[in-house]
Structure formats: C-alpha cells, structure tokens
C-alpha cells in the first residue's frame, strides 16, 4: 500500500479516478455534526439495511440496477438548516430533512422509477430545486476549498486522491524547492484565515530562513468562536486537505513535526483526522521519507480540554507543551521561537486547506479570486435569524447583502434585518449601512469589526443588541485566562456594568465608565482575546447608542428581550385555569387554583417565557 514515489501516486490517482467514475449510482448521506445530530447515522444504517436485504435474498422488489448503488458518507455540504441531507447521483439530487422512513421511498422512487421524490426536495416559496447545484444557496457561492466537502467520503483517502488529492504535494516534491513553495504562497497573497490576516507565505519564508535542528508546523483547529463551525466542516469533511497543506508547509520550511490542535467539542473531527493520519501513514504520505524523498514529517493530534483562549497562538503552544493555556509575552515571534522555542509555522485549518489549490493552479490564478489585498475565498458559517443557516464559501469582497439575502435566503419569517455580528466575541457588529460593503480583511477592520475566523450571526429586528453585547461580554469574561489585569478585572467590571444595564439599574455615568474600561482593556491587554474582548461593546455602542440609552434612561427594551425590563401577565378573560403554566414554571411564580384564574407573582417570575409557550389559550403575554 505504501507509495514510494510520485509517479506511483499519479498512477494511483488515475486508477482511483477510473473506479470512481464507474460508480454512477450513489447515495451520499451527510455525516457532518449537524446532520448526525438530526439522525443521519440512522438513515445511513437504514439505507445499508435496505440495500443489504436486496443483496442478501433478492426478495425486495427493486429494479435490477439497484445492485450497483453505492452508499457513502460525506462531510458537511453546508446547508445544515435543511439537514439531514442525502444526495443522489446521477442527477445531483439533494434531499433535505430526510427521515428514516423516507429511505425506502428514496430507493424505490429515485432509482426505481427514475423520479425525484418531490416532498424531500429543497423549496423556497413554492419553487422546487431538484439539483443541488441549482439551489441559490450553492449558485451564489464559489466553493474552492469546500469543493470536495460534502462530495467525497472523508474517511476514504482513495476518494481524496481520486479527486486530485496529494497531487499538489507530488508537484511540490517533483518540481519545486522549499524556497519556490514559500515564494508561491507569498505571491498568492494568501492571508491567515484564523483572524489576524497575516501573510501565510511570509510566515513560511521566515521559518525557512531560521536555522534550527527542529521546526514545527501547527494547525490551529481550536475554533472556539460561538457560532463558527466552518473549520469543523473542513476537519470533518476533507481532513486530508489539511494534512496535505501541512505536509507542503513542512517541505517548504524544513519542519519535521506537526500538530493539529482540535477543540474538545469536536470529537467527530478528531476521529476523522485520526483516521486520515493513519491512512496517510499507510500510503507513505506521512512519516519517514515521504513518497520516497528526503522529506520526513509526521503529524500528531492534540485535543483541547475546553478553553477558548487556546485559540490564541501562544496559549495554544503553551497547551501543546502541557501547561495551562495562558498566553505568553515573547520578545521573539512564533516564527522564530514557537513551540518549545523552535521556529514554528502556526496557521489555521482553512489556511492549510487553501494550499493545495494554490500549488496546483498557481498564485496568479489564486489572486484572480477575491480582492486585490484579500485574494481567494473565505468560508463563513452563517447562523442566527436567516433562512439558510450553514457554511458558505464566497470570494473575498462579496457583500453582506449578497451573502445574507442571496445565498442564505434572507431573514427568517420575513422580518427586517437589524445587524450581523461577525468574528464572534472578538468581532463587531455591522448594520444596515454596511450591507453593501465588500467583506475583506481590511474593510472590516476599518469599521471596527474583523473577519475573525468567519462566524456570522445574523440578527433580526427583534434582537436586543444590548443583550447580545452582554452575552459576548459574558463569554469573554468566562473565557479570560485571568493572567493580565485589564482582561481579568476589566472584563469582569464591564460585564457587571452590562448586567446593570440590561437589568435597568445603570445610570449614564456607568455608560461612560464602560467606554473608558473598553479602551483600557483593548489597548493594554496581553493577548488577542483581551485586545478584542471589548469589540462587541464598542461596536454596538457606536451603532446602537440609542438602545443603550433606552435601557438606561427609559428602562425599556423595545425588543422585549431583556427580562428585567419586561413583565409577563395572564389575561384573566382568556385564562381557563388549566394550571399547565403553573406546572411548567421553573420558578414556581404562577399561583392559582384549577379552573380559576391564575396570576403571576412578579417578584418570583424570572421572565423565561416558558408559560407563554405552554398556554394553549394564548392567555399569557409580555407587556
């Protein structure tokens, strides 16, 4: 199985490709985290059972062709909202919200009668889309990095090789010197996808320039921003593309060892990466003398243990070294003194996944995508109040409007757009006025936001922006490592003030203090987490100051989100005395007797709204 030279790899590629092309009838079940949560594995098992039955005794009345149907699992194709997803070849048919009960119909109808099952097709406003690639969600994307994600079986190295995988590595080994590789990446202007946007090629060139007995490649898969999961998709869906990027980086910088740091919340990503590494070793693509060359490189997986701050470079390195994940101050940069004080390339998942395309197609091709200073594409995970939540990949420079309204189908329930929080707890808010701004590293920084890792939370008119800022403040405060004073004490005090504001207990002096603290924390904190911790507060204060004032002066939350500022009442005329609300109330705040009118004890009420949902007579409302 071990491939000992690049020619052999090309041969294998051709062989696998041929085999793959022969498989014309395919059922591809999405096995990403989202769809698995929706029951995708049960669906897979059901397909397996149904196909097995056919093969075992042939009693099932299926048409003959069924026998050569192949069943596969894939990574996440991105349209998570509509999961579990099942794709059928031929025809590029995408079935959405599939249930176990649908499996038999899918086989019978699609293959048996050559007719797509209409009830499972994606539809918007009555318009039905048969082919996956005709859905607006996909039409408006340009999937380069994610091209194979959702198409191939992430647990099959053969499928990856069939689709051109590891050919970039072969090209590098055959035709390029380490310096050439670094130059190609520099010229591509590939910028780190983890947030900072630093030139990846420059990092590589610097690491190459340092003489050292040991150098390391680290892949940052600690995607901790709540609401961001595109790196998860890549790790789960196309793990080999990360390995290939890392191996090329190792060749380019003369590194010998690599680490992928995956956050603890992604067990499936760990499983897929582990398997991918094993396969790559078996194929001679990792380990000693890769593809028979002098390149020796191996990759280890480090599983995080639950600390957002470990996404920060120096904290991540501390964590790999077996320390508390506290960021370090360093006189020298990671490229010179990184892991164990050795020169280290530290890039994020998506950055590495870009590498093979740059090598195969050239820097110039890469620069033809995106904008001049932010070339290429960017994966975003879009969540919140949009119709199609999921992972999308668009060229840098795409506008928010295109993303939210064209690709993701606009705001849910026909409500109005209010804002989008981009870049997670480190990012900022963008509003209506930014909808037509091109999204790239520099333009976002200019308006006080950042691309961050690419998490996007869309908020509609009913979202309370002050409460969102409080939520992020609470998040960073919880995740602060506590090392430096401004972040440890400053975020604590900022959260205190935010809590006072949403509770209607703050005054205007608190607002000034909040702002003063925000600047202190931003400018004096030790690491990136602290330096950006105040961004959600600062940017919402900039664009929604009136909402802050409304909470502070008028003691009102017009979105009816802030619980202390709202009152829940039972309308006596509508109450039938069924007692359901009293039973469901977590605070035992609803009093009364069966068949009489119930009332809410406002002192006890925690305003969770559970009673409103429970009332069959719509007798409870918020005022």
């Amino acid at each position: 199985m071990k491939i000992t030279n690049t020619q052999e790899l090309y041969n294998n590629h051709n062989l696998f490709k041929e085999t793959k092309e022969k498989e014309t009838k395919k059922i591809i079940v999405c096995a990403g985290t989202g769809c698995v949560a929706g029951g995708a594995l049960d669906i897979y098992d059901e397909f397996e059972r149904l196909l097995g039955e056919k093969n075992l005794d042939g009693k099932v009345d299926l048409v003959k062709e069924v026998e050569d149907i192949s069943l596969k699992k894939s990574g996440c194709p991105g349209l998570c909202e509509a999961g579990p997803l099942v794709r059928i070849e031929p025809g590029d048919i995408l079935y959405t919200m599939v249930k176990v009960e649908d499996c038999k119909d899918i086989i019978d109808e699609t293959f048996g009668h050559d007719k797509p099952l209409e009830r499972l097709l994606f539809n918007v406003d009555g318009e039905v889309y048969v082919s996956k690639h005709s859905i607006p969600f996909y039409i408006n994307q340009s999937r380069i990095v994610l091209e194979d994600c959702g198409e191939i079986d992430p647990e099959s190295i053969e499928e990856y090789i069939a689709n051109g995988g590891y050919l970039a590595l072969a090209r590098v080994l055959d035709k390029m010197s380490p310096k050439d590789v670094c130059n190609e990446i520099v010229e591509s202007k590939l910028r780190g996808r983890g947030g900072g946007g630093f030139s990846a090629g420059t990092k590589w060139s610097q690491v190459l320039s340092y003489e050292s007995d040991m150098k390391y490649i680290i892949c940052n898969g600690d995607e901790g921003d709540p609401g961001a999961f595109m790196d998860m998709c890549i790790m789960e869906g196309i793990p080999h593309s990360i390995l290939e990027g890392m191996i090329i980086a190792a060749y380019a910088t003369k590194a010998k060892e690599g680490y992928i740091y995956v956050r603890a919340e992604y067990p499936l990503a760990v499983k897929r990466l582990t398997k991918a590494i094993q396969q790559a070793r078996q194929y001679g693509l990792l380990g000693k003398n890769i593809l028979g060359t002098d390149l020796s490189f191996d990759i280890h997986i480090n599983q995080g243990a639950g600390a957002f701050v470990c996404g920060e470079g120096s904290a991540l390195i501390a964590s790999i070294e077996g320390e508390r994940g506290m960021p370090r101050v360093k006189a020298k940069r990671t490229v010179e003194e990184g892991l164990w004080k050795k020169p280290t390339v530290l890039n994020n998942v998506e950055t590495f996944a870009n590498v093979r395309y740059i090598i195969m197609n050239g820097a110039e091709w890469y620069r033809s995508h995106g904008t001049e200073n932010s070339p290429g594409t960017k994966a975003f995970s879009v969540t919140g109040n949009v119709n199609n939540t999921g992972v999308v990949e668009v060229p840098m420079g795409t506008t928010l409007r295109e993303m939210i309204f064209d690709t993701c189908g606009g705001i849910m329930d026909g409500k109005n757009f209010k804002a989008v929080q981009i870049g997670g707890p480190s990012g900022g808010c963008l509003t209506e006025e930014h909808l037509d701004m091109p999204l790239d590293f520099d333009s976002l920084t200019e308006v006080g936001a950042m691309i961050g890792s690419g998490g996007m939370v869309v908020m509609d008119q009913d979202t309370c922006i002050v409460e969102v800022a409080r939520f992020f403040m609470n998040f960073t405060q919880n995740e602060s490592c506590g090392k430096c004073v401004p972040c440890r004490e400053g975020t604590k005090r900022m959260l205190e003030i935010m809590e006072k504001i949403v509770a209607g207990k703050a005054n205007m002096r608190d607002l000034d203090l909040l702002e003063e603290l925000a600047y202190t924390v931003t400018e004096t904190s030790l690491c990136g987490l602290g330096k950006t911790a105040a961004n959600p507060v600062l940017s919402t204060m900039k664009y929604f100051k009136n909402e802050y004032i409304e909470h502070i002066v008028d003691k009102k939350c017009h979105s009816k989100v802030c619980e202390a500022l709202k009152t829940i009442i039972i309308i006596p005329e509508l109450c039938k005395g069924c007692s359901k609300c009293a039973r469901i109330c977590p605070a035992d705040a609803i009093l009364g007797k069966v068949r009489e009118t119930y009332t809410i004890d406002q002192d006890k009420c925690i305003k969770c709204g559970a009673c409103i949902e429970s009332c069959a007579f719509h007798a409870i409302e918020e005022v």
């Binding site: 989202g34 901790g224 998040f475 469901i584």
Partner: protein, 163 residues
C-alpha cells in the same frame, strides 16, 4: 485512597504516552475518561511518576473546563450556550432541567450520581439550535419539555450508556 487497581489503570494511561509534560493533558483526559472525573489520589500518583509537582497538575486540571475534580454523573447532559443556541433560548432549557433534577449552578450532579447537567460552549451544531448533548449524542432543536422527557428516559434506564 490510591488502590492497586487505580495504579494499574493510571500506569496504563501514562504508558500510552511519552513520559513528559507535553503529554499531561492527554493523560488527564485519559484518567477523566476512565473515572468520569480526576480523583485526587490519581493526580498525586501522576505527579510522583512523572516528576511534575502536584500543584502544577492541579493548576492544569482547574484551567480547562472539561476536567472535573468532583465525580460526575453516569449520564452527562450538556446544554449548548453558543450564540445561536443562546438566541434561540437555551437558558430556559437549563432552568427547566435544573428544576426537574433539583440542581443549581453550584450543584451540577444529582446525589445518586446518575446525571450531571452543564452549560457548555458552542458545540458547532448551530443550525440546529438549541442543541443538547447527552453522553455524546446531539439532540437538535430542543425545548424545555423535550429535554425533560429525555431526562425521564434516562431515569427509567431507557437511554443506554453506549447510546
């Protein structure tokens, strides 16, 4: 108390890794998997065997959220509080669960060590928000009542351990 079984278990875990500090987090994860928490005597034993001060190990164990120094329940219910889940109301689910099990922020495990309830950071299943993870299985689009039903299933032993 440090039993010979524990020594054997911890030895096995340590031997699976290099005996140096960079392995300590993986070793602690191994111990936690085995005992569902980090027993003090096990950590002291690791300290002796690996020549790392026990205060340092304690420092690491208390830094990372996944480690627990208290025994956890047989079933662990994690309620995601990522942005998407928060916006789609994960808090009422937590409140309802705590009420159902008489738990609180400081008391996260039931007395019979059957169930632990914790709020966790984003599980990456944002499209299905709010989500709840029970023993590693993600349940999508949850509500307080659906979660309560799940708990009753656990109590009745209908949710097997390896589910």
């Amino acid at each position: 108390m440090l039993t010979s079984e524990m020594i054997e278990t911890v030895d096995t875990i340590i031997n699976e890794h290099d005996n140096n500090q960079s392995s300590i987090i993986s070793i602690l994860q191994g111990i936690q998997r085995e005992y569902r928490y980090l027993p003090e005597e096990a950590l002291n034993y690791v300290s002796d065997r690996m020549d790392i001060s026990s205060s340092k190990i304690y420092g690491i164990a208390t830094f990372y959220e996944n480690f627990s120094l208290e025994p956890k329940g047989k079933h662990i219910i994690k309620i995601c509080d990522g942005t998407a889940c928060h916006i789609r109301k994960s808090q009422p689910i937590l409140d309802a669960l705590r009420k159902e099990l008489s738990l609180s922020e400081d008391r996260i495990t039931t007395d019979d060590l059957l169930i632990t309830v914790e709020m966790v950071s984003c599980l990456g299943a944002c499209s299905l928000a709010p989500v709840v993870n029970v023993d590693g299985v993600v349940y999508a689009k949850m509500t307080p009542s659906k979660t309560q039903a799940l708990v009753r299933k656990i109590k009745e032993g209908q949710l097997s351990e390896d589910n």
